[in-house]
Subunit: 180 residues, 2 copies
């Protein structure tokens, strides 16, 4: 027994988030995930119920990591006001997505929500994050909405590579956005 199945699953999920993030669900063969995890394709199919099951599980892992980072960020808030807590959460999120895997995975997941299981996983992920943000920061609906609107703007900035574009319109969209 080289390893337990449960430990393998964790390894595979980390690899899956990374690999699916780059090319998306349909363009990523399961062999690519298997190779990144260092095991055979056949064993990935034994550990998960299929490519879809693997992707849905990876989505869960992705949102878990985001929620954990935002939670840790909130702990570091200098004050207790909603604005300060939201700002600390935003900073933690900006740090987390510096490597882009988690951000790109979200974009990929949103793009395949025509598959009901994935749509449900996306909803569950945002439910987890949004309810935490709202309750922990004690923020108003409008503040929570703004928090997520600018988060989604980050998705556009990163996918379109706007931080590399020196033109005025791109500077307008990226100005003041932390990190990416």
């Amino acid at each position: 027994m080289r390893s337990t199945a449960e430990a393998r699953r964790v390894t595979v999920l980390n690899a899956a988030v990374s690999v699916f993030a780059r090319a998306g669900f349909h363009a990523t063969p399961v062999t690519a995930v298997a190779a990144a995890a260092g095991i055979s394709e056949a064993y990935v199919f034994r550990l998960f119920s299929g490519k879809l099951g693997l992707f849905v599980a990876a989505a869960g892992a992705c949102f878990d990591r985001i929620a954990a980072a935002i939670e840790a960020g909130a702990e570091r808030a200098t004050g207790g006001s909603p604005e300060e807590v939201l700002d600390a959460m935003g900073g933690a999120y900006a740090e987390l997505i510096a490597d882009r895997d988690l951000l790109l995975f979200q974009v990929q997941a949103q793009a395949v929500t025509d598959i009901p299981e994935i749509a449900e996983a996306v909803r569950a992920g945002y439910r987890q994050v949004a309810t935490f943000v709202q309750s922990r920061a004690g923020a108003s609906d409008a503040q929570v909405q703004q928090f997520f609107a600018y988060g989604q703007l980050c998705h556009l900035i990163v996918t379109a590579g706007l931080e590399q574009v020196p033109e005025p319109w791109a500077r307008a969209l990226t100005s003041g956005i932390r990190h990416p």
Copy 2:
């Protein structure tokens, strides 16, 4: 000669925007676009340089339609202040994307920006729209940024189907958003 090639190209592009919007670039076979346009797959390959060329052309058509709608909306602004013009543009956009094809196509395009030609098409599209918004509304960088941030939030709301979710976190994210 049943039709000119140029007229066929327009038909095919409209079909392509619709069909790619649903399942995305990789999951959409060219036969599906051909069927929606009412011609054979082989002829689609003669009209466009390949599946990628077709998608890039469809992206151009998509952003052209968005820019035209926003421009028309701006003409209907009740006043001349940046806020009023932006509001009219937002209203026009909300109307335009009621059928969801243009919105979902943007999401799909952003998801395949790892393909350089598509990334460039997405940048070109947002350049077209953002420069127009900024110059026509005479808005500040921050106002333009906010305009696009809430536009991107619409993408999340629609892809995740949040308008169907009765829970408080979903209401917070969708409150005040026009239409979708």
